[in-house]
Symmetry: C2
Subunit: 374 residues, 2 copies
């Protein structure tokens, strides 16, 4: 195997596939990046138990292949090495049985490789069922929902994001059973029917690879896997087996009162009110709607102190004095998922779930369960 490749092009693709590199030592070969030089192109592949990524480089201007071959290079060393070199081009050549020679300007590296025979066979197979989204919509779906997945393995299904499509509606839902995020997209055409649960972490990693923009992403769904095709990359994640709870009935539709806030004012006030709780695991704040239409946000932390904020909401649909307590962390994460400059919090009652909406965030609902405090 002999080839020469542009340094920047190689680094960019190595960085993309490295998101799937295993850091665990269970299967040492998965700490490696598989490099296939075949048919006038170079394939870079990395995989761990959750995701697999493959980059296909067939840029004839920046790649010169002299001899085909395959090797598995230790991922982190290969990337470090390419990062540190300032050469424009890098030359690779197989060296003896278990090493590669890498030449870059006046640098000369010999890198031991991992055994090809141990590398699992990974199929990135298309599926007859696929849908297409532009990158910007895909990133929004991820950013607005994955933060609400469960981090606990006690109900594995909740560590995933439910993705369903029916007719022209794509719906993405996540919940850790204390809060819920739900985002819908409507299309002009009907989509194939799908109903899968994708690990939240896999979507977060995908989000790091996909750039803001209008590039189309194909999403191929099979029985156990979802494959995302983006530019020259194939990004594949396993699905979570099981049935996602039906959450539609949880979302209230009638409200006691709806209060509209300036989003940034609300965020600052909550952050200040939670200043003594944040560093603590409990981070409960109390919100009070007063009869003069002002809103008070307050918290008390034993031994440290108390904080109280007063806010003038933009609008309040119904001035009914009441009080509700909830996690400031959940509330902040929910509000920050909105792009609107104003958000509306719709309350149902003092111990009932409430929802948050934003005028310019169509089809996005964040729901939070309150806590009972004395």
């Amino acid at each position: 195997m002999i080839f020469t490749i542009n340094r920047d092009l190689l680094l960019q693709n190595l960085t993309s596939v490295s998101k799937a590199l295993s850091t665990k030592a269970q299967m040492p070969v998965l700490t490696g990046i598989k490099i296939d030089v075949v048919d006038n192109k170079i394939l870079l592949t990395a995989s761990n138990s959750e995701i697999s990524i493959q980059a296909c480089i067939d840029d004839k201007k920046h790649v010169k292949i002299e001899e085909e071959g395959t090797f598995i290079a230790p991922g982190k060393y290969l990337i470090e090495l390419v990062k540190k070199t300032e050469a424009k081009e890098i030359y690779f050549e197989s060296f003896e049985d278990n090493a590669i020679k890498i030449l870059a300007d006046k640098s000369n590296f010999t890198l031991n490789v991992l055994s090809k025979d141990d590398y699992p066979i990974i199929s990135f197979a298309d599926s007859p069922t696929f849908l297409t989204l532009d990158a910007i919509n895909l990133k929004q779906l991820i950013r607005k929902t994955t933060f609400a997945v469960s981090l606990s393995e006690s109900r594995v299904i909740l560590t995933g994001v439910s993705v369903t499509s029916q007719g022209n509606l794509l719906e993405v839902v996540s919940t850790d059973s204390y809060r819920l995020a739900k985002k819908q997209l409507k299309f002009n055409v009907d989509y194939p029917e799908i109903k899968v649960v994708i690990p939240g972490k896999s979507l977060d990693e995908l989000n790091k690879i996909v750039d803001e923009g209008e590039t189309l992403v194909e999403i191929h769904i099979s029985h156990t896997k979802a494959l995302f095709k983006y530019k020259n990359l194939l990004y594949q994640t396993r699905l979570i087996d099981g049935t996602f709870p039906n959450t539609n009935s949880l979302i209230p539709t009638e409200f006691l009162t709806s209060i509209k806030f300036n989003k940034n004012e609300l965020i600052s006030a909550i952050e200040r009110a939670a200043v003594f709780t944040n560093m603590d695991s409990s981070n409960i704040i109390k919100l009070t709607l007063n009869s003069d239409k002002t809103v008070e946000i307050a918290s008390t932390t034993n031994e440290i102190g108390a904080a109280q904020e007063e806010l003038n909401p933009i609008e309040c649909s119904n001035v009914v004095p009441f009080q509700i307590a909830f996690s400031s962390k959940y509330f902040l994460e929910a509000i920050k998922s909105f792009d609107s400059t104003e958000v509306t919090v719709h309350f149902t009652g003092e111990v009932r779930p409430f929802i948050i909406t934003g005028e310019y965030d169509r089809n996005l609902i964040q729901l939070i369960l309150p806590v009972r405090v004395s």
Copy 2:
């Protein structure tokens, strides 16, 4: 106690004194910042077992004192709170026996305070013996020497930096017994004679507080403490007891050969040559001077691979083929302490200490002990 203070002024001074806040729970009161409102000024004090810092705020335009008093506020909560508020002014008032009220715009905090009676008495006493340095020189002395102190407590004296002055010469030396950094400053006037060892960590913290510039810093030396007076701040550190080893005889003055390199080229080459060793605890590289005046830098790491770099030095005083091995980490830290664009490495022999100098870094010597390799 009642006072109002400009938010930015308070935050800046809190941040400075916070460098001395204790994070250990041995003496809980030292996690607090002592605030004395007295004589038309506000003193902020923080202290741990190593260093104490006091800021004096007597800016009448930005501080309004209505009632004197003293309290100890939990440091991290007070700073968080001031950081998070966007108010221009913050109002403080004692509240009951063990709390303060803090008002800022529409925020209203109650912060429990720590017991005044537990706070140790800290004296920031001047000394008849003091010397004066401008901030820029002080920062250089610190930056070019403290990295070489020992991190091991087995010889406590080596965790400090030796500071001596005699006549018009100020000399700062640090060593962990594998390398040594020595910087001298010459003045136009004679300085009082001093001979102390200051903890390296204390100087690193001081460096964070002092800004680049020509502001003068007074250094007061007493038997057990060094006090730095900088702007409105008093920065005090304990000294290390004991005798610093005499290192003058260690520094070679006759050389086998001196090789001058472009500093940045040398740094890049070493970083690449060490790419497989860096992540490892052993980080030994070999430097070879060839008879054709080229320099080779190489490393081999078992199981990973080998790296080799070729460099053309700018000058070489004596082309004697030889080879030497040393820690790439120590070498890089030493080279990076130079401001010159060219550095010269003076070798004495294959297993003898070597030194590094830079044309524009007058009176700075970095020494490194080689290692024996097979």
